[in-house]
């Protein structure tokens, strides 16, 4: 049995699973939950193109605010990317047109088992699931261990504050006017990271 979770799964992933068997005459490699590693071995958050803003602590605080218009991280708006295993942020939807985060809404985690009770959808996750955890579905299951996240938070904090400075500076260089308005947000974000 091959599990291809999602509500619904990405059409290209579904086709990919079928053609994997037909063309290569083999079953795709599966993880501990029976999901093809090819599509379900990464959290949406791992390769998310907005990940750098997460690492830098630069978040959308309310709908259509300045941060939303710059495409910052949607974590605080309830994004389930950090606890959802799926290919959305790489494969994207509808022949690569977009995926929820790219269109400004957080991931609701529809490929995780019982996702409908993992809400409310707009309440942000109780704790940071961790910076740079390289766990797979085999070892960590569907819910990322909060303890693990706390354990490495010290290391992550340092790394990410450095990253945030670097990213902020890059943003500032590209648009010096916008940098002025972005800077006052930073002390508040630092508290959130800690």
């Amino acid at each position: 049995m091959i599990e291809v979770p999602g509500c619904p799964p990405i059409a290209d992933v579904m086709t990919g699973v079928v053609t994997h068997m037909l063309v290569f005459d083999q079953l795709p490699e599966l993880d501990g939950q029976g999901r093809p590693r090819e599509f379900y071995s990464r959290r949406v958050y791992d390769p998310c193109y907005r990940r750098l803003y997460y690492d830098a602590g630069m978040f959308v605080e309310s709908w259509d605010d300045e941060a939303a218009r710059k495409g910052y991280c949607l974590y605080k708006m309830g994004c389930r990317g950090p606890v959802t295993y799926n290919a959305c942020s790489v494969t994207r939807w509808n022949e690569g047109t977009s995926f929820p985060i790219q269109s400004g809404h957080g991931c609701i985690g529809c490929s995780e088992s019982g996702f409908w009770d993992n809400g409310p959808f707009y309440q942000h996750l109780a704790s940071f699931p961790g910076f740079g955890i390289e766990s797979t579905a085999d070892t960590i299951g569907t819910v990322v261990g909060i303890g693990t996240a706390v354990g490495i938070a010290g290391h992550a904090l340092v790394t990410n504050i450095c990253k945030r400075r670097e990213i902020s500076e890059r943003v500032a260089r590209s648009n010096s006017i916008e940098a002025e308005s972005a800077r006052p947000e930073q002390p508040e974000e630092k508290e959130e990271v800690e």
């Binding site: 259509d64 218009r69 710059k70 495409g71 939807w93 047109t97 995926f99 269109s103 409310p120």
Partner: protein
């Protein structure tokens, strides 16, 4: 007298059973039954109202988005939220995308095979098909070689013994009347439509992240607009939308509408069959001056009784006397008893299955026989859907609607009364697709104009936080799904959903009769329908498919046997 049972009706979404009594060669009585149960009303209790759209949208992947739209509107109505103009335009674009894609898919992939004999296309002369194609449209894919190629593909299908997507047809049935050449044309466009429909839905992906089930948001649209940012709706994204709209206009004008007219011209006797009810209900949609201004809707709101186009009555979703749901023949129970009718704000969802244990021969149609409740407007059964929308718009004097309707009546040389029929319903669907695809261009141009004028706002933050809500609130969200009038009613208490009721279009159309014996739209429309061959009741499919049944949202979720029965039984 024989009873013909079709269970399940295929080429629809969901599980629908029709039992029809045939005397001689005509249907004299009919019963429509939804054979799955829906539980959204139960699922939603106690949840955050802002989450409801994500649940209701998943009632069905076919008319995806409309259940989300009705849901966010219900919550916004309850909380007194007015969304920004750009959000309305984006919602309108998503609405039209849905309608255009859904109607084209219905016409080519669900309904056309009731009129088009796929196997007959094998004997067509491709050169003649080419001549026909070029005489009705300027669509470029029309050479003899192109149609020969399609014929070869079809031949491979048939010779392999596996018709695949064309497997379940009554091929060779005497009621098929198109020349082989027109059948081949329709098969070619069946395949082209399949390709094209996956393009148009990319508009959902651009504004909502994906299709099916794009994202919605209470208070606006989740996407932000920023012309100076790659990470938002920018020029590239807008260009993409513009391109898809242009492509859609070409497809609808050059393929769908010419095909519809060509096929309809061979079946004009179906303008006399399948009319059914004489009452039509439309909530209306596509606001141009905001959702609070129904007069500004592209699809006007209103009720027509007894086919009287001289008078359009007003509809109020909040009036406890107007819309009520009954359960006399439905597998539910009400605390106030069997005869009661409940306005959806007071709606109850208590399952009470009293039907036979499968497998069974017939339903007990004297008692309860469906998982659909029976909605009524001031006690009247109503037809909802494209025909209702076109009739109400026509009757209130919308010239753009009158023009396209009159043009088609003229070209088919049939009177206005021809609309009250199976073919009229199918034509109305094509006509509103034609209107909607041009309206998309209007909404798109307006969005560009707003952005050019400096207005990029897509969401209000007002009353997003539950702490700003009253302790009790109630709202109704009205919309038009491709299949007709759709509404959600919500009651909020202590920031949670206390009660939530969906009354969906296929509930209006496919429901069982009410306590006083009045039939709903499907049942009524089958009375008098001819049946040439009881083993192959193609005529039943024509009329039922003309409504575009979508039973997934009308009843939902669970087949206790975990299996489907695709068969026709004749007794």
């Amino acid at each position: 007298m024989a009873r013909v049972v079709v269970d399940s009706i295929t080429r629809i979404e969901g599980h629908l059973r029709i039992e029809a009594v045939v005397e001689g060669s005509e249907i004299t009585e009919a019963y429509s039954s939804g054979t799955m149960v829906r539980g959204f009303e139960k699922i939603l209790k106690g949840r955050d109202p802002r989450d409801a759209w994500a649940f209701t949208e998943r009632a069905c992947g076919v008319c995806t988005t409309v259940q989300a739209l009705a849901s966010v509107r219900a919550v916004e109505d309850a909380l007194g939220i007015t969304i920004p103009a750009n959000a309305e335009l984006i919602r309108n674009l998503m609405f039209c995308t849905q309608m255009v894609q859904d109607h084209a898919v219905h016409f080519y992939h669900l309904h056309a095979l009731d009129w088009v004999d796929v196997v007959s296309a094998l004997s067509a002369d491709p050169a003649e098909t080419s001549r026909v194609a070029q005489s009705i449209s300027s669509w470029p894919r029309s050479s003899p070689g192109y149609f020969r190629g399609i014929q070869e593909r079809l031949k491979t299908f048939v010779e392999s013994g596996q018709l695949g997507i064309f497997a379940n047809g009554y091929w060779g049935h005497p009621a098929y009347r198109l020349p082989a050449e027109v059948n081949l044309l329709a098969v070619a466009h069946y395949l082209e439509a399949l390709e094209w429909q996956k393009e148009i839905v990319k508009i959902h992906a651009i504004f909502g992240g994906k299709n099916p089930h794009p994202n919605y948001l209470v208070g606006g649209a989740p996407c932000s607009i920023n012309l100076h940012e790659v990470n938002a709706i920018n020029t590239e994204r807008l260009n993409h939308v513009g391109r898809l709209i242009k492509q859609a206009i070409e497809f609808v004008e050059q393929v769908y509408i010419p095909d519809l007219l060509a096929i309809a011209s061979f079946y004009k006797d179906w303008t006399l069959i399948g009319g059914g009810l004489r009452n039509y209900l439309v909530y209306g949609d596509l606001p141009t001056q905001g959702y609070q201004q129904p007069d500004s809707f592209k699809f006007p709101r209103g009720v027509i009784l007894d086919r009287n186009l001289e008078q359009v009555l007003e509809v109020d979703g909040t009036d406890a006397e107007e819309i009520k749901e009954y359960i006399a023949h439905s597998w539910y129970s009400y605390s106030q008893g069997e005869e009661a009718g409940l306005h959806p704000w007071q709606g109850e969802t208590e399952f009470n299955y009293a039907g036979p244990t499968p497998p069974y021969q017939y339903l007990d149609v004297e008692g309860k026989y469906s998982w659909l409740k029976t909605p009524r407007w001031r006690g009247h059964p109503m037809e909802v859907g494209p025909l209702a929308r076109m009739l109400v718009a026509y009757a209130v004097g919308r010239t753009e609607v009158q023009e396209v309707v009159n043009e088609v009546l003229e070209r088919l040389d049939v009177p206005l009364e021809a609309l009250f029929s199976t073919l009229g319903r199918t034509a109305a669907r094509g006509l509103e697709t034609r209107l909607a695809v041009h309206w998309m261009k209007e909404f798109y141009d307006q969005l560009l104009a707003n952005i050019k004028g400096g207005n990029t706002m897509t969401s209000t933050r007002e009353r997003w936080e539950p702490s700003t809500w009253p302790s009790e609130a109630e709202g109704v969200g009205l919309s038009e799904a491709p299949r007709g009038a759709l509404a959600h009613w919500i009651r909020i208490r202590d920031r949670k959903i206390e009660n939530y009721q969906l009354v969906v279009p296929s509930t209006w159309n496919a429901s069982p009769r009410d306590a006083s014996g009045q039939r709903s739209a499907y049942e009524e429309s089958l009375i008098g329908t001819p049946v040439a061959d009881r083993e192959q009741p193609l005529e039943i499919l024509r009329t039922i498919h003309s409504f575009d049944p979508c039973i997934a949202c009308a009843v939902h979720l669970h087949d206790p046997r975990g299996e489907r029965v695709h068969q026709v039984r004749v007794h």
